[in-house]
């Protein structure tokens, strides 16, 4: 490390490309890659990876001008469909499209099987952990998790102590963020156990690809994703509370049309064929949560809420919240409604708890974790903090409760000034931060104006949990950092998405 100049080169020369299987560029001074023909000639091909074989044949036969047109056509499709997200704090053009790249990301059946086993193991452990942490807390008694991790954690909801959600399910929907660093190396970056978003993009990306490139799907046997809404509905209905009479009534709770993910909320309600409700459509009637219909109040059995815990119930949490339903927590505790995901699941995807996940998986499943955890320094610990302060330029430092790529420091791509400013924040409240090494995230080619160019990606598969089992939709949402060299894939920070294929065997 010391011999090399710090900067993005030092941490990315070994980047694994999922199409070409080799690192892009070795020692060019202009960076690990460049766009256009010149860059392509500098690339050292290690050989096309098998899942991309058919796609590569197709690509070579394609007219580059047609591809560019198709890219524009894709944007037009998204614009007309209204697949937008809202950007907070901007009056003009508040609705934006998430850029879509037409080059698919392709995963082989064998790779997926291993991933899926790892994800299922992890999600089962998370549910067991949540049940334990709100009941007997065996993991703390066993000394595998320090009690402070719970006791002084804002994500732990005392209101959930002793509450058993219907069907024993806490996280009905989980989105596990994975990154790849090599042929057989996947890391879990984050377990999104509260209200993971983005699944509508997974579905619309596939629809768009089917519409634009039907021939690709004749040549490649791609596992379908389109039954996700049906599975989601089935999975939610399977968790209906005891109070349910007849077929369970499911509804989606949204903060409203100005929420950044409103499109997704309406999309899922539409595809499931259920009502999309806001807090002001709901009230507690005769011990049930009911929605105001044109014919009076009708009870809801399962509420798929896309509203944070804090805003769920002004009587039990934030009193000023206008997004929730006064008294819903009391109905919930009495078994009158299923809330998905359960309140208090945030303790499981807390960034400080994350570092204990290998232990948590082992404690509840009796097996070693199949998916790797990124080594994590907890800045609340003095030794760890000292190390982190000494190595800020090499590390990624994240806020424990942050999300969306906000409030983080990516050492290798930050200026000295930015690092110094972050150092002050870190020293002021070390308990708020964790740090991780900068991983050499894998790349996948995207289509730029000048041709193919590699960009970093992550992967968020969507997992459904019900008493009947765990269902994982093959693939998931691939988010791609569109800026050259960038590691930030969040849509709020200029990330895009790709269709993700899992091939049939």
């Amino acid at each position: 490390m010391a011999a090399e100049k710090p900067g993005k080169l030092s941490c990315m020369t070994q980047t694994f490309d999922e199409m070409w299987g080799r690192s892009f560029g070795q020692s060019q001074t202009q960076g690990p890659e460049g766009d256009g023909g010149q860059a392509q000639s500098q690339v050292m091909y290690e050989g096309l990876r098998p899942p991309y074989a058919e796609f590569d044949k197709w690509l070579k036969a394609e007219n580059p001008a047609r591809l560019q047109r198709k890219q524009l056509e894709a944007e037009e499709i998204f614009r007309l469909t209204g697949i937008t997200f809202n950007v907070y704090g901007r009056a003009e053009a508040a609705e934006r499209l998430i850029p879509f790249d037409i080059i698919p990301r392709i995963i082989a059946a064998r790779e997926w099987q291993k991933l899926a086993r790892g994800i299922e193991q992890r999600v089962r452990a998370i549910n067991a952990f949540l049940h334990d942490i709100y009941h007997r807390q065996e993991i703390i008694r066993a000394g595998r998790l320090p009690v402070e991790m719970i006791a002084r954690n804002a994500a732990f909801l005392p209101q959930m102590i002793g509450v058993s959600p219907p069907g024993g399910v806490y996280t009905h929907i989980v989105g596990v963020d994975l990154v790849r660093t090599g042929d057989d190396q996947f890391y879990v970056l984050e377990d999104n156990a509260r209200t993971p978003s983005g699944v509508s993009y997974m579905l619309e990306n596939r629809e768009t690809m089917l519409q634009m490139f039907p021939e690709l799907f004749s040549k490649n046997r791609v596992k379908p994703v389109s039954n996700y809404p049906k599975m989601l509905h089935r999975s939610l209905a399977a968790c209906a509370p005891a109070a349910t009479k007849g077929a369970p009534v499911v509804a989606v709770l949204t903060p409203g049309i100005y929420n950044s993910a409103y499109y997704e909320h309406s999309f899922l309600a539409d595809k499931m064929g259920v009502e999309l409700v806001e807090g002001h459509d709901l009230r507690v009637v005769d011990g049930r949560v009911a929605m105001r219909t044109t014919q009076g109040y009708q009870p809801i059995d399962v509420l798929y809420r896309r509203v944070d815990d804090d805003y769920l119930d002004p009587l039990n949490f934030k009193p000023e919240s206008a997004l929730g339903v006064p008294g819903i927590m009391d109905v919930y505790r009495a078994g009158g409604i299923t809330i998905a995901n359960a309140p208090g699941t945030g303790i499981a995807d807390d960034k400080a708890i994350y570092s204990y996940m290998p232990d948590i998986v082992e404690f509840y499943t009796g097996e070693k974790a199949i998916l790797q955890n990124v080594p994590t320094w907890r800045c609340s610990e003095a030794d760890a903090l000292a190390y982190v302060l000494d190595h800020l330029a090499e590390l990624v430092v994240k806020e424990v409760h942050g999300s969306g790529g906000y409030g983080m420091l990516i050492g290798p791509t930050s200026s000295k000034k930015e690092i110094a400013a972050f150092r002050d924040k870190l020293c002021a409240q070390p308990g708020n931060y964790i740090a991780q090494p900068t991983l050499a995230l894998s790349t996948v080619p995207i289509l730029t104006k000048a041709g193919l160019a590699p960009r970093h990606v992550d992967l968020r598969p969507y997992v459904l949990v019900s008493p009947d089992g765990v269902t994982i939709t093959p693939g998931g949402l691939t988010r791609v950092a569109l800026k050259k060299g960038s590691l930030v894939v969040n849509s709020s920070q200029g990330g895009g998405t790709k269709d993700t294929w899992v091939l049939e065997e």
Partner: protein
């Protein structure tokens, strides 16, 4: 269905109908301006018909053609400008997205995108006909998607009720502003001015062709009034709208198995256009008749909100 959804559908279709009606009023106004001299007075009447004169006067001192057109088509300060109502229609469509087919949603979304661009700047006189055509076409696309893809259920009924309340209101306001040129006494005058006014009235409801087909070349006030108030073949007449309102409310009563105060109001509204003749209306006073009709339409709208729990 959620009460909020019923309200969202109702308003979405009121706003879409309004965008088209406004475009038609502007078109009729422009036509007069081009064929007659000193027609700025006519723009006051157009603004009045669109019920946006009060707001206009807050912003401008004099009524001019350019300002009137800009106020009606694109001023964000005018909540009934085409741009404002199309945006409101689209926001309501987002709110009720789960009640709409993909085709209807996409046609509304595209309508908003296209008009936002077409109305981004003041519209040149040169471009006005094209812009007005776009507005009417876009709302026709929505109607087509609606007719071709939506189930005939309560969702459809609320959408139709919104459409016909707005349309009834619009036709009644045209008659309200121009009623004096339709009075029998005006016939005696028979001046050139009246001919222009009669033509404008027909143009404002896109009925010149339909009128000719029914009554021949000569426009006479009695027949115009008959056509716009009582003719059930004419899709913008008061009688047609009142009947459609009664029909759609009737389907809701059947579907839900309950008759509500709205049904009484809608039956009463329908009754004033049935079993009557244009002579009877003239005898009782055309102006009073129109005023009563306007009040009854607005009362029906308010009662719908309550009966079907749009807001509480």
């Amino acid at each position: 269905m959620l009460g909020k959804t019923a309200g969202g559908l109702y308003w979405m279709f009121r706003y879409l109908e309004r965008s088209e009606n406004t475009a038609r009023l502007v078109e009729a106004g422009q036509r007069i301006a081009l064929t007659r001299s000193s027609a700025d007075d006519e723009w006051t009447s157009v603004l009045q018909t669109a019920a946006v004169l009060w707001g206009y006067n807050q912003k401008y001192r004099d009524v001019t053609k350019d300002n009137a057109i800009d106020w009606m088509l694109r001023d964000p300060a005018n909540p009934s400008s085409v741009l404002s109502v199309v945006e409101a229609a689209r926001n309501n469509a987002r709110l009720v997205r789960t009640a709409l087919t993909r085709e209807v949603w996409e046609s509304v979304n595209e309508c908003w995108m296209v008009l936002k661009e077409a109305l981004a700047k003041r519209v040149n006189e040169r471009d006005l006909p094209q812009v007005l055509t776009i507005i009417r076409q876009r709302s026709a696309f929505v109607r087509g998607a609606m007719a071709g893809t939506m189930l005939r259920n309560d969702i459809y009924n609320f959408a139709r009720i919104g459409t016909f309340i707005e349309r009834a209101d619009n036709t009644a306001r045209i008659l309200d502003v121009k009623y004096w040129v339709l009075l029998p006494s005006a016939q005696a005058v028979g001046s050139n001015l009246d001919n222009v006014q009669w033509e404008t009235i027909l143009r404002s409801v896109s009925a010149e062709g339909g009128f000719r087909l029914t009554y021949g070349q000569e426009a006479r006030p009695r027949e115009i009034a008959q056509f716009l108030i009582l003719d059930k073949r004419m899709p913008r007449s008061l009688a047609f709208c009142a009947e459609k309102l009664a029909d759609n409310l009737g389907y809701l009563a059947m579907d839900y198995g309950t008759r509500l105060p709205s049904h009484e109001l809608s039956d009463a509204l329908n009754d004033v256009t049935l079993d009557t003749s244009i002579e009877t209306i003239f005898e009782g006073g055309l102006h009073e008749y129109i005023q009563d009709f306007l009040r009854a339409t607005s009362a029906l709208g308010a009662q719908m909100e309550v009966d079907y729990r749009f807001y509480v």
